[in-house]
């Protein structure tokens, strides 16, 4: 499984945080929740008489209000508002030990089209009758599919060798009850139309910047969750994002992008115009510098990853590999499965995932939530303590030695959840100053007799392969990379991707600095796109490897830009 993860950059400039997730309030349960409860009870009652009755049923309805405005080179390209509700039904037959979700082994890897590619739309109005009519329809479909799946699984178990991981298929959890008021989403559409125009206008005088767009997204998500175990949850959260993107092209055809992203739980949490425009000016300057920057050849040697870059590095290299369900799937690489209790990092490093953490310093962290998509309460999960590997990220699919969820069963609205990351936090107990870390890098360069080291300043995202068939490797895509020479001179370069294999890469991490950076992004995997954050200090790695970037063979445009055409 390839996890393409576009984590965009969150600059730690002048973001003024505002309280986002208010404290729990005793709000009145929505009519939606009541309708869900009623239909759930009726379904469980009706199916009782079936030869294979369900032992568990849950409904999750996610209402998404979205507002989007976008611009290109100072002119509006889109302005939309939308509201939808999507349903996810989890219906299980069999029992907690063995149910219809068990992997069928040795079969041609199949996507469950029925589950992964159909979205069940629910009315956006709170009418119990129409909501229930749709719940009924999809519950029936789901039940029939579940019963068929269980039969296939029972046969599969008889004909295949015993499964390595003998854990249950579903964990027992405390059914949670919670309700908070629906968040008020503020979408100043006209105001933002002006703002996004303003943010891309400075690019308009350049004929060698081929795309310059700004998009402002407002998302208000209200979720209702009920289960046959008695859970009843209503949560609501709004996220405000601004994404500015531009690219240019070098003479050799290489496309060179720059991105700037901001995310916050309130519109006030986003930077003001002056701050965004400062970043836009920097983007323009960076693009110009990148066009002229020399290309780096494949290289192995020491490097510094600044906070933001290192956050993505940990997300790709480590985070995806400790997602619980991958430890059970026998097609997965399971790099860390048997490493519990082993030392993976220097003692000064600890790593945890914390969906209850709403911000760090001035930055809101979008991987925060109260309950995961299986109704399990969010909690802080230490995964590496003092360098020693302690825990996995778990949904309600248990793995050997880990019988219960730790609140990381996540998925996009309407999709079945699996174990996913939340806010990844890397901490170091003995950080040095950024200048000191740089000094350490130079020492390392000299020690190894290398002509230079690399500094990864900014990263676009990355992807990783966690399976067994393809090499279990990662690729982190940098945007701003510098060469640092033994004499301290620094030079912008282009054309490389940071690559490697997880265990080797981890074993080379040496030290960290005091400059903590945070990313907010959307991570994509089996259960769709989920908001995540990654927070880390800058780290020194004694050996990394870079390979040539996949490059466009296309030339820049033949004719000059119309406004720059002197003929």
């Amino acid at each position: 499984m390839k996890h393409l993860c576009r984590i965009a950059i969150m600059l730690l400039t002048v973001i003024v945080a505002a309280p986002a997730l208010g404290e729990p309030q005793g709000a009145k349960p929505a009519p939606v929740l009541e309708a869900m409860k009623a239909e759930l009870a009726r379904s469980m009652e009706t199916f009782k008489s079936q030869p294979v009755p369900p032992y568990f049923l849950s409904y999750e309805i996610t209402e998404t209000y979205s507002g989007t405005v976008s611009s290109s080179f100072g002119k509006l390209t889109g302005s939309n508002e939308n509201r939808s509700r999507l349903l996810n039904v989890d219906l299980r037959v069999g029992d907690y030990a063995l149910d219809n979700t068990r992997q069928i082994r040795g079969a041609f890897p199949s996507f469950d089209f029925g589950d992964r590619f159909t979205f069940a739309q629910i009315p956006i109005e709170d009418d119990a009758d129409s909501i229930r009519s749709i719940l009924w329809y999809h519950t029936d479909k789901k039940y029939k599919r579940a019963a068929e799946q269980l039969t296939r699984i029972q046969t599969n178990i008889k004909v295949k060798v015993a499964q390595e991981d003998k854990s249950n298929d579903f964990s027992r959890e405390t059914p949670e009850k919670f309700s908070e008021d629906r968040v008020e989403v503020k979408f100043d559409r006209r105001g933002w139309e002006d703002k996004v125009r303003k943010y891309t206008a400075p690019f308009a005088s350049y004929g060698d910047i081929y795309e310059a767009s700004a998009t402002y997204y407002v998302t208000g998500e209200t979720r209702w969750f009920v289960s046959s175990e008695g859970a009843g949850i209503q949560t609501s959260q709004a996220v405000y994002r601004l994404f500015v993107s531009a690219f240019t092209k070098a003479a050799d055809g290489m496309e060179l992008p720059r991105y700037v992203t901001f995310a916050a739980f309130s519109p006030e949490g986003l930077p003001d115009d002056a701050a965004v425009l400062r970043d836009v000016d920097k983007m323009i300057a960076d693009l110009k510098a990148l066009r002229e920057a020399p290309v780096v050849e494949p290289y192995t040697g020491p490097a510094i990853l600044t906070g933001r870059a290192s956050g993505v590095f940990f997300h790709e290299v480590f985070g995806h590999r400790i997602e619980g369900h991958r430890q059970k799937d026998e097609d997965e690489g399971q790099t860390f499965k048997k490493k519990i209790g082993e030392k993976l990092l220097p003692e000064t490093f600890s790593v945890y995932f914390d969906p209850t953490m709403k911000r760090i310093g001035p930055t809101d962290l979008v991987g925060a939530y109260r309950f995961d998509n299986q109704g399990v309460k969010a909690r802080r999960v230490p995964v590496i303590e003092k360098g020693v590997f302690k825990n996995f990220l778990l949904s309600r699919a248990p793995i050997e030695g880990f019988a219960v969820s730790n609140g990381h069963g996540r998925g996009q609205a309407g999709l079945p959840p699996v174990a996913r990351q939340s806010n990844l936090i890397v901490e170091n107990t003995q950080p040095v100053s950024p200048a000191e870390l740089r000094k350490m890098l130079i020492e390392q360069i000299k020690k190894e007799n290398k002509p230079f080291g690399l500094i990864f300043e900014d990263i676009e995202g990355g992807f990783t392969m966690t399976g067994r068939f393809l090499p279990n490797a990662f690729n982190v895509i940098p945007i701003l990379v510098y060469r640092l020479y033994p004499d301290g001179r620094q030079e912008l370069v282009r054309g490389v991707d940071l690559i490697g294999t997880p265990l080797t890469a981890f074993s080379k991490i040496v030290a960290a600095d005091t400059q903590v950076g945070a990313f907010n992004g959307i991570c994509g995997a089996e259960s769709g796109g989920v908001p995540v954050a990654a927070v880390s200090p800058g780290v020194l790695i004694s050996q990394i490897e870079v390979q040539k970037k996949d490059k466009s063979k296309e030339r820049p445009p033949i004719l000059p830009a119309p406004f720059a055409d002197k003929k």
Binding site: F73, K75, E81, N82, R83, I124, S133, Y137, E554, I558
Partner: protein, 591 residues
Amino acid sequence: MRHKVAVVTVFVLFLFFVPGRAGDDPVMTALREEMARSMQRLQLENLEKPYFIAYRVDDVTGSSASASFGSLLGSAASRSRFLTVEVRVGDYAFDNTNFMSFGFGDTGVARMFGGMVTLPLEDDEKEMRRQIWLATDGAYKKALEDLSKKRAALQNKTRTEEIPDFSHTTPANTTDVSPAAELNRADAEKLVRELSALFRAMPDVFRSEVSLAVQNMNSRYLNSEGAMFVRTVPLISLTARAETQAPDGMPLADGFALYGRSMSELPAKEDVAARIRAMGGNLSQLRNASPLEQYNGPVLFEGQAAAELFSQVFVPALLGRPRTVTAEPQFDQFMAQSSSPLLDKVGSRVLPTFLSVADNPGATIFGDMKLFGGRKVDDDGVPTHEVRLVEKGILKTLLVTRRPVRGILQSSGSRRGSGPGASNLFVSAEGTLSEADLKAELIKLVQQRSASYGILVRRMTNPMLAGDLFDSLASMMAIPGREPAGLRTILLAYKVFPDGREELVRNAELSGITVATFKEIVAASRTQSVSSAPPGMRNISAFSFDIGEAESIAHPVSLVVPSLLFEDLSLKKPSGEFSKPPIAKHPFFEK
């Protein structure tokens, strides 16, 4: 070589130059400026310059609301503006087109798919021109690449036919503008809520939806030969769909669409409600009907059923698509199959001598029924006109675009999206048979065979309007002229006994019907009925990846067709397994 290039340049200069006109809007000005610059100077080293460029800008504004069981599922408004660029290199006889080339791939720095890019919504000449510049550059580079690949693919092959890739035509300047359709969102929401709530009185329907959409498509076209058009197509569509299952699990689904150029052209709410109730009533009756076992014998298609059958099976064969060259031999056979089975039949009899077929884009009304397939100019900028396709059973020509096909070298003005499409199709019968006479004819055939009954079909569903997404996907994959897998769209079929008595049967599936079967029509009524419905993906080549298709798929084709009596067809019940009906009762009706 150098000499030749110079000649081409002069020729092109002469052709492209269209004087600017006063009163142009910024969009047209931007298109014109970039067209001139590109035709004059767009050239990569010593490679060929474009010999033809066409631009189309589509402004699409619309809103829609949908509801189920009395509650809104969604309601949204949207506005977008797209530029489609067509660049041809080579010459009219042999160019970069008619080559299997996926819509993606390297297109310079432009983020294009199927030749399309997004334009700013605001009429700013400078920014329009930036996007047109980048898109033209990308389309030109892709055209050069396609042309060289196409030459490579053909260099070791002998071509048995030399059909030009592009036909000449006289450039026209067409204006086809009508007032925008207006739709008040709140009114639309109220209407779909009320109409969808009708299903609260239909316990036999498992799932249903009603939606109302308005779309105003405003297109501006310009090509380097000097043709241009401004065309607005307002359209309001109201669709309703319902699905259920027979007690044995077989699916039963129906859906219909009603169209208007304005709200006032749509039928009154009470009339729509009556149609929805009738749809529900039919499904209810069908649930209690018996499935049809194997049947061979005469079948009469009445009214809407005849039109839908004609649309699904015969119309795709009337579309002339050129043979596509491909670099991959394994695709060759697919390419051969995607051409019309009627391609070499011009001059031969394809229908009984009493039937004639014509496509008439200029028609707007038949009797008191509005027609919705017409327009004054096609997507190549060619003015449309009536095309007599079949006269007294003899095939005269096919509907073609400016991409000629064997034997038909001139455009019939039929480009819709990336390929040819019908507009308003008229099938007319000589003779004096009434509907009742036709039923009598059916009974006569039954008696001649000493069979116990014949089959009368009153309603066929349109795959775009009924059933779920997967059924539509299956129909998309169908290849024109061949029998689509699982054509399951007969809804209302009746056994007709010699005494005239009728008995409803369900889940009758047509088997083995092809274009050739239509030659065996034995009788048709003199009266025709009108039916407007989306043409569906079926009419589009399985190898067309052009996103510009979206509009032509949604836009209805109107058919005016008499009832048709076939002497011998095969019907059977569907094979395979069907999921059982829901275990629990519908929650609303259990109360």
